[in-house]
Assembly symmetry: C2
Homo-oligomer: 349 residues x 2
């Protein structure tokens, strides 16, 4: 059974939100952004230990990141590092990997995971993954993980199910909801039948290819044509030529919101998409004043609720800052109020 | 006449107040702390162009700074770099240089200047210096420069004269005053007969040696004994052996407050002792929001009245800081409220 389990890791993001720590050269998934000793993509792979054989792990990333993936993930087969010549969002990325897997193993069951999220309870996560893979191997279903929401977060999309009183852990999806405003988010929490959309998916390779053919046939057409070259020396040439012609669409818009066999597996395993400095700060260990500090020579005075990330051995004295981000990486220093972090893109110009 | 003019530059300070820019390895006088293209000691020497022949300039500094003085001030004769084996405040420093000058030229007229002050109007300063040297060549007087005060500064000592209505530019000193509190400083400004104590002195070598012999005879005794070795290969050995035996006393306490031939020359030439980040900020050119910035890749957003000093080419984004010091030097970063700068020593521990 385990030999039918496959993992697709999406690692093409260029994440500029954690600038100057993340940059186009080294986006977030390739950083040890929490100071844990492993990069986020390494943690992602490790999380599937015992469930997916490393030879069945595919990473889809940008050509620019091939070397860094090989360096950080030496257990991967080179031909399983799929290189997008350009970014076309998640649907073409998943389609490419799925058609490639289908050629190798038409009985594959696939879990798709982002490369840059945090999960703290690996045991509970693995239970959900085993359940999910089993479910999609037995049902022609597209399954996603919905996280039990702990607060009216406005930074996540939500997944609605019909019955707030359900005792099932897997339920049909009623609707996907965009990132809500605070009032709406609060109503979701109160209603009790909403989950955070984790962006983690399960399906058999047969089910996802059927869905691609049904809902985004123009994408299916491209990757069907590639069938002759997957695994051959001509694969990259084909992708370089055809991939740019794919529409730019997410799997959520392209498939999940259209299909009628969508299910959600509820989960509660300490998940964060680490999408903002604020979410990072929440997940970090903090001192008595609420400061989350990485950097072994950082001294704080009269400061609270700051997130400080400094290079090793850099001497830093910070006095009198409250609710600030102070980050230095690759010779660039950012000092910014936490509440203004959405302007980080503007700051980089 | 010019061949009788001598300059003693006091450059032994270890100034930790501008940490991390100034350090024990490179104190303030050896830094271009204002970003003007020359270090403070280089600016100090330049200020006496045309008044004192470079061969008549003596720098008294710590042994640790000999190389940096030679590098920054190549116009100095090596034997005119006087090396204190330890710090004994300004009276022994001035006594050593004075006895050495007396041996070389008993008709010398001397100006003594700190190495780390700022003067912006060199023309007016030079007029005062020429006047001062002339005055002490004609009178057995100890003359100091008193700066016309522009505000009730509590960071400076004051010099009192008798008559607030005097039209003379040189007046006898009535009293020296310690750094006052704000209320007292305001009363000084209102009274009109107080100057800021600049720490710049003029005297003939005869007058200062008489004063040393009269008021600090134990110091005189030491440097009289050295007369045989000044200018010889045995000078440093003598100083290393005898200098530590000097009492630790300033020229203000040891001589100026005791002697009865003390005069003050009023001056107004854009002077600052650059003793604090706040005084530095005042002297710097500032943007529309009052930020004084050194560093060619520094971007500020929503920030005002900050002093920012960053290495060349370092990319820095600062958002949302008001009245802060942000300085990086030698790999150390300081972020600190301006009003807390007196704690910088504490921060370094």
């Amino acid at each position: 059974m385990i030999q039918n389990n496959y993992l697709i890791i999406m690692a093409g993001g260029v994440g500029s939100r954690f600038w100057p720590m993340s940059t186009a050269e080294t986006p977030k998934q390739f950083l040890d952004i929490l100071g844990l000793g492993k990069t986020l993509i390494q943690q992602t792979i490790e999380r599937f230990d015992g469930i997916v054989d490393p030879k069945n792990i595919l990473v889809v990333t940008s050509k620019a990141y091939k070397a860094i993936v090989q360096e950080q993930c030496p257990e991967l087969k080179e031909e399983n590092i799929l290189l997008e010549p350009c970014m076309r969002n998640t649907a073409p990325c998943i389609a490419y990997a799925s058609y490639k897997i289908a050629k190798e193993n038409p009985n594959a069951n696939i879990v798709v995971a982002p490369s840059d999220h945090l999960i703290t309870n690996t045991n509970d996560f693995q239970s959900v993954v085993r359940n999910g893979l089993k479910f999609v191997s037995e049902n022609e279903a597209l399954l996603t993980i919905g996280i039990q929401p702990h607060r009216p977060e406005t930074g996540y999309g939500y997944i609605q199910i019909e019955d707030p009183k359900t005792t099932e852990i897997i339920n049909p999806v009623k609707a996907f909801k965009e990132k809500p405003n605070l009032e709406t988010a609060e109503s979701y929490i109160k209603a009790g039948n909403y989950f955070w959309n984790s962006g983690i998916f399960f399906w058999s390779v047969k089910s996802i290819i059927t869905a691609i053919e049904t809902h985004i046939p123009e994408v299916a057409e491209i990757f069907q044509r590639g069938n002759a070259v997957y695994g051959s020396s001509k694969e990259q040439e084909f992708i370089d030529s055809e991939y740019p012609g794919c529409i730019n669409i997410s799997v959520d818009y392209g498939i999940m919101e259209k299909a009628n066999n969508i299910f959600v597996h509820s989960g509660d395993f300490g998940w964060s998409d680490l999408g903002t400095w604020g979410s990072l700060w929440e997940k970090r260990s903090k001192d008595n004043q609420g400061n989350a500090v990485v950097g072994d020579e950082v001294k704080l005075f009269d400061s609270s609720n700051c997130i400080v990330h400094m290079p090793e051995n850099k001497k830093v004295v910070i006095q009198g800052l409250e609710d600030y981000i102070v980050v230095e990486s690759k010779g660039t220093l950012l000092i910014c109020q936490k509440k203004e972090e959405q302007r980080i893109k503007e700051f980089q110009k």
